[in-house]
Every structure is written in C-alpha cells, then in structure tokens.
C-alpha cells in the first residue's frame, strides 16, 4: 500500500472515532459518579437534530454546537430528575430516554430532512497544514476533532488530579460514606449527568454537521451504543476510551479497505468485527477481576437517597 493510502486510512479512522470519543468520555464521567445513563443514543440524536437546525437557521456552526450541548443537557436533566431525585430505575429510564430521543428528534427534524448545510471545514493552520505527510496526517481536521483530544486531556486531568474529580469518584464508589462526610452526592451526580448530556449532544452535532452534513432520522445508527460499550471496554479509563475509539474506528475503516483490495472475507463478517472485538476484550479483562473491580464504580447503577 502506498503512503497516501495509509494516510487516508489514518484520517478516516480519526474522523470516524471522534463522535465515539465525545459520547464515551461524557458517559465515563457520568458512570464514575455512579450513574448509568443508557440514553446516550437518544441524547446524540437530539443533539444532532438541534445542532443541525440551529446551524442551518443561524448560519453559525458554533451556535449549533452550543445549542446541541444545551439540548443534550436538557435531555440528561429529564433523566437526572427521574433517577436522581425520583429514584427511578436507571436502566429502564435510560432505555426510555433513547427511545424518546429517537422519536423526538425525528419529529422535530421533519421539515429539515434532506436539506443541505455547509459542514464544518478543516482548519487550515499556517505552515503546519502544509507540511508534507505530517500536515496531511495531523493538521487537516475540523475543530471538533482537536476538541475531542482536548476533552480527553481535560477529563483525564479532572478525574485523576482535581479535587472535584476525586470527590466525584468517591461518590461513585461509596455515596453514603461521601454523604456522611459532607459531599453533595445528588448535586455532583446531576452535574456528571449533565456533562454526559452535553458530550452526547456535541457528538450528535458532529454527525449532522461534520461527518455527514445533513439531518436524517436515526442517523446515529447505533453509535451511542458503541460509546456505551467503549466505556466498559476501556474499564472506565479515559486513555483506554480514546484508544478504544480509534481501534473501533480503525477496524471499521480497515474492513472497507480490505474489500477494496479484493480480500475475499465476507463483508458481513467484517462488519461484525468491531463488536466481536469488544466481546473478546471483555472476556480478557474479566479474567483479571482486579482490573475490572478496581475501576468499575462500586455504586454504578444504584440510586442514592440522602434521607434513606
């Protein structure tokens, strides 16, 4: 394969992985606080449609992204009120949020289906973008791609170095103990859920304004679920989320290239590969109970009531 082909594979991989990184990092923080929000797919779809509508009508993608984040936050607040305040079952509520988001986005976006929008352009960084090879490899993406890397560093720093991050993790491990020593469990969980919502929202907007600049019903095509799987796949570690997302993206892209090179592996088998990879990794990490138990928030999916 020529150098250009390798560059193309690398670029496609990064572009395909970006929405997964946003959604999975958001969900990671939510889960670290002990809340399991299965509504990622629904929040992504609402983010996608709102980002698109605002982007089309205002002509500004930045406004679109802000609106998408806000829409994701609002969706996550519905989830938060139900599960954190009203103590509803998190799994059932999350699933309902996904179904609700799919229907709501289809309804809101009715008259926008099949409309074009000027998608996010690649940033042109003077000098750097013009470098041979390296320029094409690293400096030809749109702003959201760099944003996803920045978000990774921010989340990594927050969870491992900041006071608030350590408190959030403590709440995810032992909410009653945290409550007893005076940490605001409910408030922190709300914030974590809202952060997850904002990230899903922007992941959705990335789909509808950058990856394929258009809106159509159900356009996330299961990427929200892949993001959820990624968090487990990464055993709740931000760096592994990042690498996992590139691995997922890479396997998908490679299977398309393999077809183009006339590799006679059935394409259905290749389509299945990313999911098979998750299962294999799950099996491998489960062989070592310490790794998984050390990182999995102990109170994940369990409600907490301060007065109980």
């Amino acid at each position: 394969m020529s150098l250009d082909t390798w560059i193309a594979i690398f670029v496609s991989t990064v572009v395909a992985a970006t929405p997964l990184i946003y959604a999975a990092l958001g969900e990671l923080v939510t889960e670290k606080a002990g809340v399991l929000n299965l509504g990622v797919e629904g929040m992504m779809l609402v983010g996608a449609v709102v980002g698109f509508i605002v982007g089309v009508n205002s002509g500004s993608l930045v406004l679109g992204y802000l609106a998408a984040m806000l829409a994701g936050v609002l969706m996550s607040l519905v989830f938060g009120v139900l599960t954190i305040t009203l103590q509803a079952n998190q799994v059932a509520t999350g699933l309902a949020l996904t179904l609700f988001g799919a229907g709501l986005s289809a309804f809101v976006g009715r008259s926008y289906a099949g409309q074009p929008i000027d998608g996010a352009d690649a940033l042109h960084i003077p000098l750097l973008s013009d470098l041979p090879v390296v320029g094409a490899l690293l400096f030809q993406f749109n702003a959201l791609v760099y944003g996803s890397i920045a978000l990774f560093f921010a989340v990594q720093w927050f969870l491992s170095r900041s006071h608030a991050g350590l408190r959030l993790r403590a709440i995810g491990e032992a909410p009653s103990v945290s409550h007893a020593i005076g940490h605001p469990v409910q408030k922190t969980r709300y914030r974590a859920v809202m952060f997850g919502g904002a990230c899903s929202g922007i992941a959705g907007a990335y789909l509808s304004t950058a990856l394929t600049p258009m809106w159509v019903e159900g356009m996330s095509s299961g990427r929200g679920w892949i993001a959820l799987a990624l968090v487990v796949f990464a055993t709740w570690k931000p760096l592994r989320v990042l690498l996992g997302a590139y691995l997922f993206g890479g396997v998908t892209v490679l299977q398309l290239y393999a077809q183009g090179f006339g590799l006679t592996v059935p394409s259905e088998f290749l389509s299945m590969l990313p999911y098979a990879a998750t299962i294999v990794v799950l099996v491998i990490i489960c062989r070592d109970p310490k790794t998984i138990l050390l990182n999995q928030p102990a109170s994940l999916g369990k409600g907490f009531h301060p007065d109980a």
């Binding site: 009715r110 008259s111 789909l207 600049p213 159509v216 183009g260 394409s267």
Partner: protein, 370 residues
C-alpha cells in the same frame, strides 16, 4: 359528506395509524351519502418518512403528481413509516375499510400483507411496487432502474481520468448487483479500460458508514462514484474531495452541486395517473408493469456542465436508443469476470435471468460476498 382530512403531516407512524382509525370512523359515516360523482379515493402506504429524500419521497412526488393531474377526480391519503410486517396488514386493511378504492403499497415487504388484504376486498384495486404476486384485483409495478444506472455509467466512463469507478453497495442482492453491472457496462461502452471497485456496507442507510466507504473508494483511485444506498453521503464526500458521483433515487445536486454528474430518479407520477384513470373508467386490469426510460418512469437529472461533451453525446444517444427500444443495457455480448460469455451477441438477457442475476460482468473487481 364529512371532509376527509386527507394529507397532513403526521409525527410518527404510531400517531398516523391512530389517525387512520379516526378517519375510518368519519368515513364510514360519510360513505352512505357518497354519490356516483364522488372522487376516487386513493391511498398510499410508505415504508419510510416522506422526507427521506429517497424512496418514499419519490412515491409521494408521484402522489402529488396524481393530485395535480386529476384534481377533483381523486382524493389521496397516505400513511408513512409503516413497518414491513404485521403492522402493514392492519394499515392496508384499515385503508380498505375506509373506502379507498385504489391502494398503492410501495415496498417489497408489503407483498404478503397486500395479497391477503386484496383477497378480503375484491372490489378494491391494489397495486404493489416491486413485488411479483399478481391476483385479479392486485397488480404489480416497478421501474427498470438499471436503465438509469447504465446511462449514469456512460457519463461516468466519459468523465473518469483514472479509469476506476467506485460503487457503494448496500446488500449483495440481485437488484443491486444488476445496477452495478449496468453501471459498469455503460461506462465500458465509452471507455473499455474501465474497472469498477465495489464496497459493500451491509446497510441501506448509515450515512457515516457510506461516507467511509466512499472515502475508501477515493483513496483506492476511484474518481467517479455511484451508490445503491439511501443517503447522499457518497456525493458529499465526492464534493469535498473534488471528484464526481451520481445521485440515486432523487436529484441530490443540492448536497453536491459540483460533484453530481447526474442522478437516477424514479418517476412514479405518470403511472399513478394512468392507473387512477383506468380505475375511474372501469378498464383497469391487473398487470405486471415495468416502467423505464421510454415511458418516463425512470428519469435522469440534468447533466453536470463539466462532463466532457463526447460523454454527454454518447449519453443522449444511448438514452434515445433505450427510449426507442433499439437498445437494451443487458444486450450481448456480455462476459462475466472469468471471461465466459453469459449473453451471446445479438440477444438480450431474459427478464428472469436479470431478476436473479448473481454475477459481476468483466471489469468489476472483487467477488460477490456469499
């Protein structure tokens, strides 16, 4: 007579089915007073939302053409996003109960449901798109879409500089394979050196994946692409990378004004008008209709100005020949990938062979996933 709240936006199929129920109530009360001059009630069942810019959208354009052409002689209703399966039967039956005299079911998966309901309502006329089961009150119709695919191939073959075309396939079924073959044959008619690369995405609809497939094809040298999937993602990539692509199902030039060389369009309007006229006149008979370039059932979008003049001329000539019936895309000699002659010179592939085609013509690379 109670007015029929015929066409209004429906938020989802759940609600639209509920409305159909309400309509039924209104109609059964209203029917008693219907006079002989009452308009023909025509109903359409769509598999997707009418805003999908593809398959269901095209059928709805046909419905609108019917309303425009026959005016007060018809009254149309539609139900969108009806899943193929048990729901479909209920919706179709309800439409028949509502007093619709002509019902178009527009997806292959409605076949069994349509046959069943047609048996229950012998006085109602049914028309099922892309199916093959005909009864005495059920006709079938479809378009020879491969004619459009062939003509797009002619343009693509005259436009490409790398002699490599790309095709994003959905599922390896005869319908799609036939289009890939027709596209390749069309291109080879103006440029014998053409190779077509095919990538299967195993979905009708996942813009992200269609995009990646198109990027892959471009990276592997394709500079004109076509796709038998439902979103304009391939065209968007082509526009971005400065290569060319073809629109599919509807004119997608608004997504890629510089990249769409032309588009293959289903134009159902004339057929819907004809069937409605026949039903009104009482001359309707069940038929197996194949619409194509000749009768306007398949149309091509305006050709991009930057396509070389020689290719446009070849395209126009072939189009005229297909319309006149002097040329067919699957006209021999046609060789498969191994070089075996599948269709000898001087003959045309038979319809059953075409419907079951499961081999690539010479020039298509790779093999069909089994």
């Amino acid at each position: 007579m109670k007015p029929l709240a015929s066409v209004e936006p429906k938020p989802s199929h759940g609600i639209s089915r509920w409305r159909v129920g309400l309509l039924a109530l209104g109609l059964s009360l209203g029917l008693a007073s219907a006079s002989a001059a009452a308009p023909l009630k025509v109903a359409f069942v769509y598999v997707g939302p009418v805003g999908d810019a593809g398959w269901s959208y095209a059928h709805d354009q046909g419905r609108l053409a019917l309303e425009k052409e026959l005016g007060a002689q018809v009254k149309t209703t539609y139900v969108e996003s009806v899943p193929e399966g048990a729901d479909a039967e209920r919706v179709i039956r309800q439409l028949a109960v509502d007093g619709n005299q002509l019902i178009f079911t527009t997806s292959f998966g409605y076949m069994e449901a349509t046959v069943k309901v047609a048996r229950m309502f012998p006085k109602v006329v049914f028309e099922h798109a892309t199916g093959f089961k005909k009864t005495k009150n059920l006709g079938v119709y479809e378009t020879r879409f491969y004619e459009g695919a062939y003509l797009l191939g002619v343009l693509a073959g005259g436009t490409t500089k790398s002699n490599t075309l790309g095709f994003v396939g959905s599922f390896p079924i005869p319908e799609v394979i036939r289009n890939i073959d027709a596209f390749t044959l069309g291109a080879q008619s103006v440029n014998p050196k053409i190779k077509t690369k095919v990538i299967w995405v195993n979905t009708w609809y996942d813009p992200g994946k269609e995009r990646q497939a198109a990027e892959t094809l471009i990276a592997q040298g394709a500079d004109v692409m076509c796709q038998n999937t439902d979103s304009p993602a391939t065209l968007q990539v082509a526009q971005e990378k400065g290569v060319y692509a073809c629109g599919w199902d509807s004119d997608m030039s608004r997504f890629a004004p510089k990249a769409q060389i032309s588009a293959n369009i289903n134009n159902w309007g004339p057929y819907y008008v004809k069937v409605a006229r026949d039903v009104i006149a009482g001359t309707w008979k069940p038929s197996d209709t194949k619409l194509g370039i000749a009768d306007g059932g398949v149309k091509l979008a305006p050709v991009l100005p930057s396509v070389p003049a020689a290719a446009v001329k070849a395209f126009e000539d072939k189009k005229a020949a297909i319309a006149a019936g002097t040329f067919a895309p699957f006209q021999g000699p046609i060789k498969d990938q191994s070089g075996t002659v599948r269709v000898p010179a001087g003959s045309v592939m038979s319809v059953p062979d075409m419907m079951a085609i499961n081999w690539y013509v010479a020039g298509v690379e790779g093999s069909i996933p089994k």
